[in-house]
């Protein structure tokens, strides 16, 4: 699986507005819903918040992978957002979160979900990749960084 096959380029957010955890999720859900007709922003926000209530998806190293299941979706979709200032996402290492990779999965995604998680985790484990995202000046820079990592790994 390639990340570029599931990434919705137009939903990538270069700079999130400074905000709370909920505002980050709402902004990302809104951006994705705007370009992805199968997704309704309010419903996605609700699903994401339900998941966060179980355990924060802020997994440390400045990275969060908010995710949720949506009925009626016919494939995995993903987006990315960056917060230069950092957000308190209640991450497990209690550090601010800068990189958000959103994953929305169909109800019966089988092994695809685990594969997508593993692949994006490999990307983010690489400090050079995180630095590239930090240095990005345009939405295009971010998409290029992800596409390059997709080719490299």
């Amino acid at each position: 699986m390639k990340i570029m096959d599931i990434l919705v380029n137009d939903a990538v957010i270069l700079n999130l507005g400074v905000g709370s955890k909920r505002e980050v999720l709402a902004e990302m859900a809104g951006a994705l819903a705007k370009v992805e007709p199968q997704i309704e922003a309010d419903r996605l926000l609700e699903v994401l918040q339900e998941r966060e209530a179980l355990q924060s998806t802020g997994i440390g190293d400045g990275v969060a992978i908010p995710h949720g299941k949506m009925a009626g979706l016919d494939r995995l979709v993903a987006s990315f957002a960056r917060s230069p200032e950092g957000v308190d996402f209640e991450s497990i290492d209690r550090q601010a979160t800068h990189h958000f990779f959103l994953l929305v999965v169909p109800e019966h995604s089988g092994g695809q979900y685990l594969k997508a998680l593993a692949r994006i985790s490999r990307f983010f484990r690489d400090a050079a990749f995180r630095q590239q995202l930090t240095n990005a000046e345009t939405q295009g820079d971010i998409i290029r960084a992800i596409a390059e990592e997709d080719t490299r790994l």
Partner: protein
């Protein structure tokens, strides 16, 4: 006294080692003094890093080795191994209840 303990465990949950159990594993690993590594036969990764644990793509039936080095290595391997071997229903109960 530092000892090293290493044992193999099988992922039982039908969803595999996904984000939530990986998060619980990393947090629990951080509670032990011992250094914790997890291996899948190809590589060893830091047991306290969720990114590293997720990158193993450990689906149901996959065998993972836990290696702990430190004063509490024995207990660490037993507790963390039990986390890996939980069923999906047990993982659901751990955080939903």
């Amino acid at each position: 006294m530092n000892e090293t303990v290493e044992r193999e465990f099988t992922i039982r949950s039908e969803l595999g080692l996904h984000a939530r159990p990986a998060g619980e594993f990393a947090v629990m690993a951080g509670r032990f003094e011992s250094e914790i590594s997890v291996g899948n036969g190809r590589e060893w990764v830091d047991g306290r890093s969720v990114l590293s644990l997720l990158s193993l793509a450990a689906g149901r039936g996959v065998e993972l080795r836990i290696r702990a080095t430190g004063a509490d290595a024995d207990e660490a391997v037993a507790v963390l191994g039990a986390l890996l071997e939980r069923s999906h229903a047990e993982i659901e109960r751990s955080t939903a209840g």
